[in-house]
Amino acid sequence: MKFMGHAISILRKDILLEIRGRESLSLMLFLSLLLLVIFNFALDIDIDNVSSLASGILWVIFVFSGILGMGRTSMAERDEEAYLSIVFSPVSAESFYIGKVLSNLLFLLIMECFTLLFFAILFDFEKIISLLPQLLPALFLGTLGFSLVGTLFSFLTSASRYGEVLLPFLYLPVVVPVILGGVTSMDIILNDKVGGADKWIQLLAVFDVLYFAISLILFRYIIEE
């Protein structure tokens, strides 16, 4: 299918760009690690409270590292107006959007896996790795939600005078439902709380569908001047 073929081409290009330029993923990983250290001081994490704090800490890190990373990849697109070569091609705005969503999703997921690993190591919390299969659906759907909204918004804010600085102001309020879903369902699973995790995962799926539909329609208005 041509549609997906184009999206995959853009994904490939972004992976290549990351390998050559190391501008996005490496910064995200570095920020994640740094935030873990900061949280350790700020919250005085130990064996007793690690389980109840884990979900909140992790999702805050996911959100902020994600903002940094998605902001970078969009800036790389705006640099030298490189994205115009995509705009001037037979690639539809929709394929362009999906390609960018896929590459952001990939980088976010890699960052999250590393963050989980660091977390398990630094706070001696192996449970989170062993529970990974149960955590995965919410993690994936939440990250997809981040990427769906973040791709649109980071491309939008990168054109402004304030650049990436503006991204969190627009992006954070809009993705509150995704953050809520991610944090809550992970907390339920990690701490064996009763019920609700499934419902949240379903909700996240619904949110993703909604965000996908709106962003897919609106993306074309961001790449034309």
């Binding site: 041509k2 184009h6 081409s9 490939r12 290009k13 290549l16 760009l17 050559r20 330029g21 501008e23 790389a76 640099d79 030298e80 107006e81 490189a82 994205y83 115009l84 070569s85 995509i86 705009v87 001037f88 091609s89 037979p90 690639v91 539809s92 705005a93 034309e224 001047e225």
Partner: protein, 234 residues
């Protein structure tokens, strides 16, 4: 016969009128050079022609049809002030990416031959940000040869190039003319622009002072316009 037609195009920025009633018709194979000083609206006009920018008022026609922006975009190669290249990728990777977007086979000789033709072959494995300014401009233009569309819209293609590079870019653009492409060029370099044109136009404060056949305008006249544009208009 293909025709690009602009009818009463107006474009407004915040409080500034960049284009103020532009009418122009371009026939296939004809080459138009638009002269004008900085801020005359050349870049805006070219962006409207190539469909990146929608005008505040007026319409763009392509083959007598009101073309949607996305359609005209696909018929057009636009080279602006920026190169539209990915700086971190190598010369070849940039080209291969373009090929993928346009479903052009990049494994064959085609890309290599164009790189050779444009003197970029030796630098094919270098990242774009290690190239000199002239090389970058040349690579950006070479992209157009790969895509090979009907319309070439070139905004100041000679900016920042030394004489040697300028001559080589000029000869490449001449090649395009030979192939019967639409060529719409904006520049403030009178000699080069004049040489490439069939029609010359002078843009001042968002309006055409004139559009004429090259034969009807002397190169000296254009130079004078740069010194005192619109004197006779008051």
């Amino acid at each position: 016969m293909n025709i690009i037609e602009l009818r009463d195009i107006k474009k407004q920025y915040h409080a500034k009128t960049a284009l103020d009633g532009i009418d122009i018709t371009v026939r296939e194979g004809d080459s138009v050079t638009i002269f004008g000083s900085n801020g005359a609206g050349k870049t805006t006009l070219l962006k409207v022609i190539s469909g990146i920018m929608s005008p505040t008022e007026g319409k763009v026609f392509y083959n007598n049809k009101a073309y949607s922006e996305s359609d005209i975009k696909k018929e057009t190669f636009y080279l602006g002030h920026k190169t539209s290249l990915y700086n971190a990728l190598t010369v070849q990777e940039n080209m291969h990416f373009i090929c993928r977007l346009f479903s052009i086979n990049h494994k064959g000789e085609f890309v290599d031959s164009i790189l050779k033709e444009h003197g970029l072959w030796e630098r094919r494995s270098d990242p774009v940000n290690e190239l000199s300014h002239g090389m970058k401009r040349r690579l950006a233009l070479a992209k157009g040869f790969i895509i090979n569309p009907k319309v070439f819209v070139l905004d100041e293609p000679f900016t920042g190039l030394d004489l040697k590079w300028r001559a080589s870019v000029l000869s490449k653009i001449k090649d395009l003319r030979g192939k019967g492409k639409f060529l719409i060029l904006a520049t403030h370099l009178v000699e080069e622009g004049y040489e490439l044109a069939d029609y010359v136009a002078f843009l001042h404060k968002g309006r055409f002072l004139f559009i004429r056949k090259k034969e009807e305008v002397d190169i000296k006249e254009i130079k004078e316009f740069f010194h005192s544009p619109g004197d006779d208009l008051g």
